[in-house]
């Protein structure tokens, strides 16, 4: 009787293990050729219509008085559904959870650029001295999604026709330096920065002036199953940003005001986002078929 129970338990365990392996096999797609870049697209979800893999290769983000060039590629990936009457589609998160890659960009001027010596109270000065002595003065800025990926809106019609909003994203900017701690952000899930990027012309409030995006140059691959668009320029210079919070850990009450003072005015008309991208979009069904053909 005991032997029988043990055998049943073992069989069940093996079945569970095999099932787990099976799931792992399903999740790890073996997409090939031009389809390989869509590995993180949720193509098993039938609500998804298209898979997207976009790389921002260059550009800049101006937040108040600070300008951060985009020097390291940033990835946006996932899927999106059928467009609604306003031509917007709902976004679906990447299967690995990395819809927007957390790519740190170097902030010119480093820590002193954002916490200038002249404005440092005594306590801050003493603490910063330690970071300088240990060469921890570099400052990075990382774009992160402030809300779930489902809050992203995309319009391929507006993107191609260079009119209206092509990509809307709720964001927060993570300012990273050991002195600033792990929670120094401009924007949050409750008060996100909303980028309304266009490939057309912007209409910002002053002092910013209108800037022009570009839809890019499209080429169809895999007999029209994939479209690759190079040179897409997404722009928005009408966005506003809330004050920085959580900078400096337990002395945030001292550091936040210094950071915000250094950033200057960050209301609409003082900030800019320019993203130069290569976009790859594929039909979900074509990606799923490629996966089936390459088990």
């Amino acid at each position: 009787m005991h032997m029988h129970r043990r055998r049943v338990a073992c069989t069940a365990l093996i079945a569970v293990a095999l099932a787990a392996l099976g799931f792992a096999g399903t999740a790890a797609a073996k997409l090939t050729g031009n389809y390989a870049k869509f590995a993180q697209c949720p193509y098993t979800n039938l609500e998804v219509k298209k898979c997207i893999y976009a790389i921002t290769e260059s550009g800049e983000v101006v937040l108040g008085s600070k300008k951060v060039p985009i020097e390291k590629p940033v990835t946006i990936q996932g899927g999106y559904g059928k467009a609604n009457e306003e031509s917007f589609s709902t976004f679906f998160a990447a299967t690995n959870g990395i819809t927007l890659s957390k790519t740190p960009q170097n902030v010119p001027g480093g820590l002193l650029g954002i916490v200038p010596e002249a404005k440092q109270p005594w306590l801050v000065k003493q603490l910063i001295k330690f970071f300088f002595e240990n060469s921890l003065t570099g400052l990075n800025s990382t774009l992160e999604l402030a809300k779930p990926a489902s809050e992203i809106k995309i319009s391929e019609k507006h993107l191609a026709e260079e009119i209206g909003i092509a990509l809307e994203m709720p964001l927060k900017i993570h300012l990273e330096n050991p002195f600033l701690g792990n929670n120094c952000y401009v924007g949050s899930s409750s008060s996100p920065i909303i980028w309304k990027l266009t490939t057309g012309k912007t209409s910002p409030p002053p002092p910013n002036t209108s800037i022009q995006g570009f839809g890019g140059t499209a080429e169809f691959l895999e007999e029209g199953r994939i479209v690759e668009t190079k040179g897409t320029k997404l722009v928005d210079n009408a966005w506003s940003a809330p004050a920085a919070t959580g900078c400096g850990g337990i002395i945030a009450f001292l550091v936040n005001p210094i950071v915000n003072s250094s950033l200057g005015t960050t209301t609409a008309g003082h900030n800019t986002a320019i993203l130069n991208n290569t976009l790859n979009v594929a039909s979900r069904a074509a990606v799923a078929k490629n996966n089936e053909e390459n088990p």
């Binding site: 219509k49 059928k82 026709e161 260079e162 839809g215 080429e219 029209g224 039909s283 069904a285 074509a286």
Partner: protein, 219 residues
Amino acid sequence: MSERAHKEMMRKMNRKATYAFGLAALVVLLFGATLASSASAAPAWKFEGKALEGTETILGGAEKSAMTIPGLTTTCDNFLYELSISNSSGTGQGKLTGMPLFNCYTNSSACFVGPIGAEALPWNSHLTTVESTPYVVFEGVKVGIYYEGEECVLDETLVTVTGSAGGSINNTTESATFNSTTLKTTATELKALGQKIEWTGVFPTEAFQTHRLQPLSVS
């Protein structure tokens, strides 16, 4: 050589020189006239060599016409147009009032052409001459192409072709030819999905109303 023979030869040479000079002058005059006509002539619609008075409806029909965005070509086997033409102050003008498209397909096994048709009709057109070749130019072109196919990246997408297009007119074959060269020559362009596209087609054209079966020319 006798003096008489020498004088005779000189007279012949002078005559030849005078003839040659006259011929050259004539060539220069004719060439000049041609240049002047190519630069300033306002081409008009003509039937049997006479300028059209009033209006006429002409029909053009391409055996095949194709539009290409790199990697995807859409072809229509039957591509017709109906153009109401007239001459105004000696220059040919027209309004494209209909453009039915049939039997359209792509070069992809994944993408199929659903509903397709001209929008925002009528489109204005006019005749022009570039380097002595007559051209017909269509303005305000707008064609909607709805693509289908589950695996096609354009599935359930309406692609709108917009812009202007110029085609060269061949009076001998009574046809209009549209391709990348004629569009470039007439400084026209068609765009779809935000970028310039190629369009090719040869349209034999004929009158449909009072000038039916009469030779159509543009000059």
